[in-house]
Symmetry: C2
Subunit: 433 residues, 2 copies
């Protein structure tokens, strides 16, 4: 049995999960692939720290270049996260003729083009299934089984922390702040939750998906991104009443080569399969020219699900090494398919505001929206136990409108004497057909 | 650009869908893979019949062996369906050194072991993604990205016709017979719907999944299979009231090498992601040792979704042909993993019966069940507008029980003087954790 030697950077939670996935699956892997895969060196800057996992001490190295420059190592796994020094290590490993597998969405979103170029020049493979959707094998499906499809749309619930928070707010009627604290206590949210709750993590993943699906480069910074910190439990309650759930959606469309995208809290129709994706689960819903609508659902994070995706990439490369032949160096990330990035695009929006309850208010709002050619699908003025004549909620849902046009109309409405506050503006996503 | 030549058996709906998928996706396929794939010969026994698709007449052949024996053809696609002559054609193509791609679940379930053996002997590849779940790339995921996982469970909604019928019965309160007629009128059900509504189609697909996931051979005939013809709209209504939907589930478990399975109409908890799979959609929910729970959702039939899966296999093989090197001949269907088939196993069951409404009936039923050591999770006696004291529905849901034990208890209960009829027995599936 051919032995494939692997070096791994990082032995945090994901590193340990990857190591465990390999050990747990060793017999199955050998039976079904005929390959013996061994992680022979692991970068561990604190080899004396108890990691809570039984790994022979002699595997540990404290210098990444003990792995990068080791001619016996075929594949390097990068699991240290963050853009640097991870990008430099991966680039140097590719230059040294090693195949590279990474779970690092930030580095791939920021430097995927350069790393892919280096992989091609050095006739080696770069794979990053675990960078989007954790254990869900979506990137592999897009680049292999579904490759004959032109993709027109992707909708993703790509961040488990925010989905957990929104699910708990909906199920327990709790506030954002209370659920966040609980999530931090349970380990579902980081001490500094900014990258998750502000949508930056989802934007990194969406940037990768857009390149794979539509062949256009949109950096995470270019993606219009709004987090969940402004979602009020009142919005979740109104949404439920209207037949929606509130989810942090990462979405992108390709209409005749014009790619639009955003990451923002959105009302998702309860009929939509994404509406049943709860707690820490992720899902990616894609629409292709032949296959129509597909959804992939699973655990978007966690040591073992992420380890499953990392090992899937490692085994795929190991099979190619063993079989000989040329590597398929066609780039998975594409930046050349003739598509152009066209901003946020038109969407339906839910708007909640508080107004002074006096005759003519609804008509006045409708007139302002009409002057901006914004069509209203539904508008509701509704008293609730905490409302008074001085502060009455009005909710409306628009038909498709450019966000800039809506923003301008809302700016005008906000200046009206009867408007107390614009409470929230959220995207609306219907059943995908 | 290397040209890969393909021969195709069959130009019915799936054949046309496959041809269209290739033509629609040609530019994308060439851009992303660098390959030019051409279907050069098509078996068409009636070349003068108008097929409603623009295909050059000179591609048509009337003898399968014009394709099987053509040394210029690299890959044969088999889309004629049925066990024979499809199996013979595939076997002869493999012997002639051609790679084979098929959408034929009946032939793969019946003869996959022999065909796979022939592929290995002749150093060529056999692929059958489209045979399970139509466009959903589940087989590819199991055999590549997820290969480090030991799988413990699969639950599938694998037949679009029956899922459409059950969804429409639930949404419109219509009877099985009325919805079947409507489905036939709309082309969602065949004129002879037996293979679909009796669960045989789902059993073929489950047999393939069991071999891929658990490495044990269970023939479709061995799988305990019950169709949807006995599902009454009353069962769907009661299920809804208790928080369930009724789905035709194909399910299999592997508990320490003991594989149990069945295909039968089941109550699925509304919290379960499978509960939101409606109409003609299919889904496969698998649980692996590292990745935990995953669900793949999409169109399980139809010309273009099936064409997407067929072309995915063709392109995967074409890439390997172009890159040279040895083929990975490790079998995907496994019959040797040390697992044994162990029948139907223990499940929760819903039982609906009609009884004469007199004191002590509930207690008597509970006593009989207790004597068989069957624990009851919930039992309800419930009048409804159509019930009388002479025929009152009783519904109970058991905890896990072997089906043979339940059947024996029900046989005893049926003999009681107060029991008018045993109306239905359906499996119950809770949220997969």
């Amino acid at each position: 049995m051919r032995k494939i030697k692997v070096g791994m950077l990082g032995i945090g939670n994901i590193g340990k999960g990857t190591y465990r996935t390999l050990e747990m699956g060793r017999k199955k892997i050998e039976d079904t692939t005929g390959l013996s895969i061994e992680i022979v060196k692991i970068l561990n800057r604190h080899p004396d720290r108890d990691r809570g996992i039984d790994i022979p001490r002699e595997k540990y190295v404290t210098d990444a270049y003990d792995i990068i420059n080791d001619p016996d190592i075929d594949i390097m796994i990068e699991l240290i996260g963050g853009i640097e020094p991870a990008t430099t290590y991966m680039a140097d490993a590719l230059r040294a003729g090693k195949h590279v597998v990474t779970a690092n969405k930030a580095a791939v979103a920021a430097n995927g083009r350069m790393l892919q170029q280096l992989a091609q020049e050095n006739q080696v493979l770069l794979r990053f299934e675990a960078s989007v959707g954790g254990g869900i094998p979506i990137l592999n499906a897009i680049t292999t089984a579904l490759v004959s499809n032109e993709f027109t749309e992707v909708l993703g619930i790509l961040n488990g922390t925010t989905n957990y928070i929104l699910t708990q707010m909906a199920e327990n009627g709790a506030s954002y702040e209370d659920v966040l604290k609980e999530a931090q206590r349970m380990g579902f949210a980081e001490a500094d939750p900014t990258a998750d709750v502000e949508g930056l993590d989802a934007a990194n993943k969406l940037s990768i998906l857009i390149s794979l699906l539509f062949g256009v480069g949109v950096s995470p910074e270019e993606i219009p991104t709004k987090g969940i910190t402004t979602v009020d439990k009142v919005d979740i309650e109104f949404a439920k009443e209207f037949g929606y759930k509130v989810k942090l959606l990462a979405s992108a469309k390709n209409v005749n080569g014009h790619v639009t995208c955003n990451v923002e809290p959105s009302l998702v129709s309860q009929e939509h399969p994404l509406a049943s994706v709860n707690n820490e689960f992720n899902a990616v819903y894609v629409t292709g020219s032949a296959v129509d609508s597909l959804m992939f659902y699973g655990k978007g994070a966690g040591p073992l699900p992420t380890g499953s995706a990392v090992m899937g990439d490692v085994i795929s490369i190991a099979r190619k090494i063993e079989k000989g032949g040329a590597y398929d160096l066609q780039p998975h990330l594409r930046y050349d398919a003739g598509a152009v990035f066209d901003g946020e695009g038109a969407n339906q929006y839910y708007v909640r505001m508080n107004v002074i309850d006096r005759p003519g208010v609804l008509g006045s709002i409708a007139t302002t929206l009409g002057a901006h050619r914004i069509s209203i699908e539904t508008m509701t003025q509704r008293a609730n136990p905490s409302s008074s004549r001085e502060s009455m909620p009005i909710i409306f849902i628009t038909y498709d409108v450019e966000k800039t046009v809506l923003d301008e109309a809302i700016r005008e409405i906000r200046e009206s004497s009867y408007v107390k506050s614009i409470e929230n503006v959220l995207r609306v996503e219907r059943i995908g057909q």
